[in-house]
């Protein structure tokens, strides 16, 4: 019998509708692999038509009720407003034929957003996520134009336009541990942005990025305080760590033990594994599969995609012995890559992840209880100790 994942439909695609960008961020993973310059600048009509054909095949074959696409780049808005409208129209036509709903989303640097684009987002129900690295003095360190100019004011204008129109959006930042996270949180909250994430800077195991543990411990404290009496602040990475430590599952690929199964479609129709793996160097995600010769399901038989999935599940010996194996999962797969060992490493941020998870765990012990309707409550640590004592030695052989 085939493994479950081979029988499961692929209902999510990362679609690179543009392979170039209109700004020049110093930390960008995409252009660390020079082979992106060999790809067409934007997706053409023939590739889009074939992609939609493959998606409809997939929907019919598996009777899918929902299909999600994240439109990405480079900068996806370089694809042009007409192409966004066309794609959305075609998706609606597929929905009408199949009954499958489409969930279209886009991650953008925001500098091209204007009223016409807002009309496009609204009319076509395209969900928007903006990249903003907090206040201008942090954002403009890395996120600059090709002429070296700042971009923060342009993105801030996009925020105002979206908010004026009442369009909800998400925000992604990249951590800069040289600054206190309060600067990020205060800035976002001052802009009425209460739902965002601050991601680890991308780095392979061969690099030596600055430590981020203190940043994330402080960020957790800010999240905890903001949500003390009322849920007013969502920070994705923090919430995924908390959920993982409480026995739940992370909903992000960046933390938590789970298989890496993203299929990336490039501007020429090539099919590749996770795009961020390009930080491993030139051609590191290259395959011979494409949507003209292959179905979307074929990616599961592609050697590099399969190797990526296996690597995401087969953790290093250090991870296998770690008490945080499940909530951490070795961190983000690209951060485990080294030229010498491939992915057989812990994360380059292993010490930071361990310190952050330990800190959050100790805080949760003070805030989580077993409660009774009578009002009696017992700390979670004490309840675990009692439960462990009640079990047979064989059943409680957890090392965690």
């Amino acid at each position: 019998m085939l493994p479950e994942f081979l029988q499961s439909p692929n209902a999510y695609l990362l679609v690179k509708v543009a392979a170039r960008c209109n700004i020049d961020c110093s930390y960008c993973y995409w252009f660390r692999d020079q082979s992106v310059y060999a790809k067409p600048k934007v997706m053409n009509a023939a590739v889009l038509t074939q992609l939609l054909k493959r998606i409809e095949e997939q929907i019919i074959r598996f009777s899918l009720k929902e299909f999600s696409m994240l439109l990405h780049g480079g900068e996806p808005m370089l694809w042009g407003i007409a192409n966004f409208r066309l794609m959305a129209e075609e998706c609606r036509a597929i929905s009408a034929r199949t009954g499958c709903a489409f969930d279209l989303a886009m991650t953008t640097n925001g500098v091209l957003i204007d009223e016409a684009w807002l009309d496009c987002f609204e009319r076509n129900d395209i969900h928007v996520t903006l990249s903003i690295d907090g206040p201008s003095h942090i954002h403009d360190i890395h996120r600059r134009t090709f002429q070296g100019g700042p971009t923060h004011a342009l993105v801030e204008e996009a925020v105002r336009l979206l908010q004026k129109r009442g369009i909800q959006f998400g925000v992604l930042a990249v951590c800069n541990p040289a600054y206190h996270p309060e600067e990020f949180v205060d800035y976002f909250r001052g802009m009425a942005i209460n739902d965002f994430d601050i991601m680890y800077p991308d780095a392979t195991f061969d690099e030596n990025p600055p430590h981020v543990a203190q940043f994330y411990c402080d960020l957790f404290d800010l999240w905890l305080e903001a949500n003390r009496d009322k849920r007013t602040l969502h920070i994705r990475s923090i919430e995924n760590m908390v959920a993982g430590l409480l026995g739940g599952r992370s909903k992000s690929e960046e933390i938590g033990y789970a298989p890496q199964e993203v299929c990336t479609i490039l501007t020429d129709g090539s099919m590749e594994p996770l795009d961020v793996l390009r930080i491993a160097g030139d051609g590191s995600t290259q395959t011979t599969f494409n949507i003209f010769d292959n179905t979307l399901e074929d990616i599961k038989c592609e050697p590099r995609w399969s190797m990526t999935r296996e690597a995401s599940l087969n953790l290093s010996d250090k991870c296998k012995q770690c008490r945080f194996l499940e909530p951490c999962g070795g961190g983000y797969l690209p951060h485990r890559f080294s030229k010498h060992n491939g992915f057989d490493n812990p994360s380059v941020y292993c010490d930071d992840l361990y310190a952050t998870l330990s800190y959050i765990q100790s805080s949760l012990e003070k805030h989580v209880y077993v409660s009774k309707p009578s009002g009696d409550k017992m700390s979670i640590g004490e309840a675990v100790t009692i439960a462990r004592a009640s079990r047979s030695p064989r059943d409680s052989l957890t090392a965690r």
């Binding site: 479950e4 994942f5 999510y12 994240l70 991650t107 969900h127 909800q168 998400g170 925000v171 992604l172 739902d195 965002f196 991601m199 905890l224 949500n227 003390r228 009496d229 849920r231 969502h234 994705r236 908390v242 409480l246 026995g247 739940g248 599952r249 992370s250 909903k251 992000s252 690929e253 789970a258 298989p259 890496q260 199964e261 993203v262 996770l274 296998k320 008490r323 945080f324 194996l325 499940e326 949760l364 805030h367 989580v368 209880y369 077993v370 009774k372 017992m378 979670i380 309840a383 675990v384 100790t385 009692i386 439960a387 009640s390 079990r391 064989r394 409680s396 052989l397 957890t398 090392a399």
Partner: protein, 82 residues
């Protein structure tokens, strides 16, 4: 205390009695627990507290990545970034 798992939570609730619940005095943490409380009803409280390696081995065989989101897709339905 070890990082919690659904099996650990289910078994400690069994010990504490049917009316016991896992709660937090912090609204943010309690909101995240709400999702977990919902899942607990489907967990066998007598399931072994397996080692991480055993849990991983089982997970590798059975689970695929559905529900794992890539780099921040804003979810209008949930009103949050996933």
């Amino acid at each position: 205390m070890p990082p919690l798992t659904l099996a650990i939570l289910a078994s400690l609730l069994q010990v504490q009695g049917a009316d016991a619940t896992i709660t937090s005095d912090n609204k943010g943490v309690d909101d995240l627990l709400a999702d977990i409380r919902g899942q607990l009803q489907q967990v066998d409280p007598n399931a072994p507290w397996v080692t991480p390696a055993a849990a991983v081995s089982n997970y590798t065989k059975t689970v695929h990545g559905k529900g794992i989101y890539h780099k921040g897709k804003y979810s209008k339905q949930e009103g949050v970034i996933r």
